[in-house]
Every structure is written in structure tokens, then in C-alpha cells.
Amino acid sequence: MTALLEVEDLHVEFRTRDGVARVLNGVGYHVDAGETLAVLGESGSGKSVTAQTVMGILDTPPAYVMRGAVRFHGEDLLSATAERRREVRGEGIAMIFQDALSALNPVFTVGFQIEEQLRLRRGMSRSEARKRAVELLDLVRIPHARQRVREYPHQFSGGMRQRAMIAMSLALDPEVLIADEPTTALDVTVQAQIMDLLAEIQRERHMGLVLITHDLGVVAEVADRIVVMYAGRIVEQADAVSLFRSPGHPYTEALMKSLPRLDAKGTTLDTIKGLPPSLLRIPPGCPFHPRCPRAEAVCSVDVPPQERLGFGRTSACHFAEEVLNG
């Protein structure tokens, strides 16, 4: 069975003044209809770049896709025409961004920004599109949608703005929604509301949801499956329940230890030592070895392959089995 959206062996590099940054080094994941995939990883690990490659909105230059495939219903998008890619955007795969204030155009009303897709892509008249825009704002539970549709993004509160962005992304009824840290810029209480809304919409519409996040707490609640990224690679991939029960990669292990825990109040957080590697000079062997508490001689020489751990789990570690079994 072909997956709804599948990313395979993606290599992307940024050619900058300082040299070539290998930002993605073989990223692969897939998401099916009705499924929530969480993409986890430190800042700079390539989560957003992967999403932008899927959407086809990378800045080229400086970014170049060197290898790999992005398949939507089995059709490779990377080799598709620009026109075909544009068709898929919004309608097949839609995306919402972290900071809704800068992601929405400040000089157009929220309504205009929802309606333009409907008029251009669905051939709706102004009044039909307006009606649909109000319905969409209602759907994401923006109160007084009929008035608010005429307002500008800066007149919305942070949470309302993110709701408006979600409404906008749903305008063309996409099959996959990529949410790139949709709650990072928001207050904690609002974060939960937005996450609930997203989860609910995803269920109702049976969409595939790719949820990019730093927040392990969010992941635990909504994700069906999780991929963990490090230095442009997927280091671990597992269903949410078994990943939380027992991580299969030292990096995931470290991430979990760095999570503040209610049952361990007062103890210091075990944060991951050191910094992620420079993507201009990724260390040989396992890219995590300079920071890995379990590293051995082989780790700085051989790149660990994706070990299969059963039940669709994989881990890119030479000692995956040992890590998994504690």
C-alpha cells in the first residue's frame, strides 16, 4: 500500500558563503490519512527544511535538493512540473507556520487571505468565498466570525491568529496538513487549546497531520507515530506508545531525560551536554557521537545504519538493541 505522503532519502544542502551546509542527510518518513506523525528534534535539526522541501517552497538558491523523493499518493513531487507542484500546495498538502503574525500578510484582512484561494482555485465569487471564509472561521471557533473576517491580522490575539491560519490552511480541504511548531509562539493555556483544535480537526477530516515540535508533552498527547531528527537524519522512528515506554536511541533517551517531570520535582534537569554539530562539518561516523554517553570507538568511524527493531521501529545506532532493552 502506498502511503499518503512519503519522504524518502532526502538530501538537501545549503550553499552559503561559509561553505556547503548539509542540512538534510537522508530523511525519510511517511504519514497516512487519519494519522498524526510528530517530528521531533533540536533546533537546526532540519525539521522545517524537510517540510519546506515537501511543500516545494525552499529558497533555491541557497537550498538544493540533491537526492531523494517526496511522494504524494505515490506520485513523485520533486520531479513534477512547477504547475503540478502548485496544484498540490494548499489542496493536497497545506502548511501552517509557527508565528502567525509574520506568516499572515499584515496589509490584507484575514478574510481576504482565506478568500483569495477560494476565488482563484475554486472559482468562487466574492460573496460565496466570503460566506465560506466565515464558515471556516466558525469551524476554528473564532467568535463573531462575521465581523472578524473583515479585520486585519494585527487586530487578532495570538491564539486567534493561529486559529485564523488554521482556517486558511483548511480552505481547500487538504489531505495532509503540516504544522510547523504551531503553538511555540503562544501562551501555555492557549497552546493546549490550539493543539486540541488541531487534533479534533485532524480526526474529523481524517487528514494526515505532520506535527513539527520541540514539545515532548504535546507529542505524548496527540502523536500516533514519532520520528526523531538529529543533524538532518532520522535517528529514531517508532509509534508513540512504545517510544515513550522505551526509547531505542541514545539521543531520544537524552531528550526524554531533559523533560521536566512532575514526579521528580526539585532534581536538576538532565540536559543534553554539548551542542549539535555544525552542518558545515558533520563529524564522521555517528553524528551524535561527540555528545553520546554510550559512544564507543566504532561510533566515530562507521555511520550507524537504520536498525529495524520490529513493529515498524527503527533506530540509527550501533547499539540500538542494547539501548532499547535498557
Binding site: F97, S102, P106, L120
Partner: protein, 307 residues
């Protein structure tokens, strides 16, 4: 908004009084005989001088003189020159010419400047971009009187494509002077649009518009342009205010019978009444233009609110 406009208009009153008083004082209260040279080689006869001193209230204290001037002004009377010409009438014939020249220059500046800026801003570091950068640098570094005389010499006298002086100020005849007047600002408009476009190119909202699957034309032509042109349009508004102040050099070179030429000639002939009159009008126009630009800004950018 209405309240804001009212407040701004009220604020203009002291500014207007201050500037016009300053000009009045500079013109009428500086040391030296205001009627020197008015009667050819000889000194003016005493009867003439006393008549003139009387006409311009020169024997009153300065503040009283200014008060009388202002009182006439609010009744629409700009007064007469020493030779008896009506100042108001002269301004009324010269100002429309300047307005026409200003509009021609603004149009040229906007069309060429924005096009060059947008095209070069969209493709960083290409041949076109370098071309625009170099040619704007060229325009910025040449003084207007050089551009003016060169254009007049080459196109008017050597090639004979245009008449070197503007005899009748129709829109067509004002294209070349308008071009000269616009040349400097055109370069600034090009650079401003270029900077604004290349800044907005990487903006998050552009990425969102692309992610929505909008055609590139629309992303650039609607989303990016609408944002990038806000500073450019306000710059153009301010510039129009400056153009309306009369282009002394350009009008001088091409002999355009506008406000700039009028001021220039009046200063040369020490025609105090005319200078005060014209400058008073210009102060008013400039004050109103700045208000208009501020209002325009609020119209263009919904984030700007005046309450």
C-alpha cells in the same frame, strides 16, 4: 481619524505663523534699503521712498507690520509688488504650471523608479541589478543643474528633438524638464523599492502565500508589491510636496513660468512682497502635503492608527 486631522490642522497654525513671520522678518527687517536699485542708477526720490514705506507699513513696528500683512492675507489679499503687480494674481498663474510640472515629474519618477527597483530587487546580484545600481549611483552623484544643461544641450540644441525652452507649459512640453526634475528622486525611488522588495522577498507571509498554492505572479504582484510599496509611496508623497515648492533650478534652465522661477526672479529683483507671498503659499502647501502623506500612510498600512 477626524479628531486626528483636526489636531494636526490646529498644530499647523503655530508652525505657519512661525515660518511666515520668519520670512517676513528676513525680507523686510534686514538692514539695508529695501528700495535700493528700484530707480535705476540714481537713488530713489524721497517722495517715492516715503510712498513705498507707507504702502508696506515700514514705519510700523515689525510685529504690527506682520499683523497687517496677515490680516490682509486671511482676507485673500497677498498685496502688491512695489511696481504695483498683484502678488496673488501672479501666484495664481504660476502655481498651476508648477503643479503640472510636479505631476509629470512624479509620474516619471514613479514609473521608472519603481519598475527598475522591483525588477532588480527580484533578482539579486544579476546583470540587471548591477545596471540599476550603477545608473542610480550615476544619477545621484550628478547635480540637477548638470543633468539639466546637458539634456538641454544635447536634446534641445544639438539633436533638436525638443525646444530648449518651454514656451507654452503643456504636459507634452514639460516631459523633458519633468524628467530632469525627477532624475535624482527617481534614483532614490529605485533604490528604495529595490531594498524594500528584496527585504520582503524573504518575508514569512510570502512563504505562506506560496504554500497556499497561489501563482507566483500573484504572490509577487499582490502580496509582495502591496507591502513593499508602502515606504515608496510615502516617499513619493513627500517628494510631490518638494516638487510643488518649485523647482528653482529646473524651471530656471528650461524657462518654465512656474513658482520656482517666480521666487528666483523676485529674489534677484529684491521684490519683497512677491517673495513673502510665494513662500507663504509654499509653506501652506508643504504643511498640507505632509498631513496628506501621513494620512496616506495610514490608508496603506492598516497597522498604523491615528487616535
Amino acid at each position: 481619524m477626524g479628531f486626528y486631522v483636526l489636531r494636526r490642522l490646529l498644530q499647523m497654525v503655530p508652525v505657519f505663523l512661525g515660518t511666515t513671520f520668519l520670512i517676513y522678518a528676513l525680507v523686510w527687517a534686514v538692514p539695508g534699503d529695501p528700495f535700493e536699485g528700484k530707480c535705476g542708477e540714481r537713488d530713489c526720490p524721497a517722495s517715492y521712498v516715503s510712498a513705498m514705506r507707507d504702502k508696506f507699513n515700514l514705519d510700523d513696528p515689525l510685529v504690527v507690520q506682520y499683523g497687517k500683512y496677515l490680516w490682509n492675507l486671511v482676507q485673500g489679499d497677498f498685496g502688491q509688488t512695489s511696481s504695483g503687480l498683484l502678488v496673488g494674481e501672479r501666484i495664481a498663474t504660476a502655481f498651476p504650471v508648477t503643479l503640472r510640472l510636479a505631476l509629470v515629474a512624479l509620474l516619471i519618477e514613479a514609473v521608472i523608479g519603481i519598475t527598475a527597483g522591483v525588477v532588480s530587487g527580484l533578482r539579486n546580484r544579476g546583470f540587471l541589478d548591477s545596471l540599476v545600481l550603477v545608473s542610480t549611483l550615476f544619477l545621484i552623484s550628478i547635480p540637477v543643474f548638470v543633468t539639466g544643461y546637458v539634456v538641454q544641450l544635447v536634446f534641445g540644441l544639438q539633436l533638436g528633438l525638443i525646444s530648449p525652452t518651454v514656451t507654452t507649459p503643456t504636459f507634452g512640453n514639460l516631459i523633458v524638464p519633468g524628467f530632469v526634475l525627477a532624475s535624482l528622486s527617481m534614483a532614490y525611488v529605485a533604490r528604495l523599492s529595490r531594498a524594500s522588495i528584496s527585504e520582503n522577498r524573504r518575508a514569512d507571509y510570502v512563504r505562506t502565500a506560496l504554500a497556499k498554492g497561489l501563482p507566483t505572479r500573484r504572490v509577487v504582484g499582490v502580496h509582495m508589491l502591496r507591502n513593499s510599496l508602502i515606504p515608496v509611496i510615502t516617499f513619493l508623497g513627500t517628494d510631490l510636496g518638494a516638487f510643488l515648492g518649485g523647482a528653482i533650478v529646473t524651471e530656471g534652465i528650461f524657462n518654465v513660468p512656474g513658482v520656482g522661477g517666480l521666487v528666483f526672479r523676485s529674489i534677484l529683483t529684491k521684490d519683497g512682497a512677491m517673495v513673502t507671498g510665494v513662500v507663504t503659499v509654499l509653506v501652506l502647501v508643504y504643511l498640507l502635503m505632509t498631513l496628506l502623506v501621513d494620512l496616506l500612510y495610514a490608508v496603506l498600512d492598516p497597522r498604523i492608527r491615528y487616535d
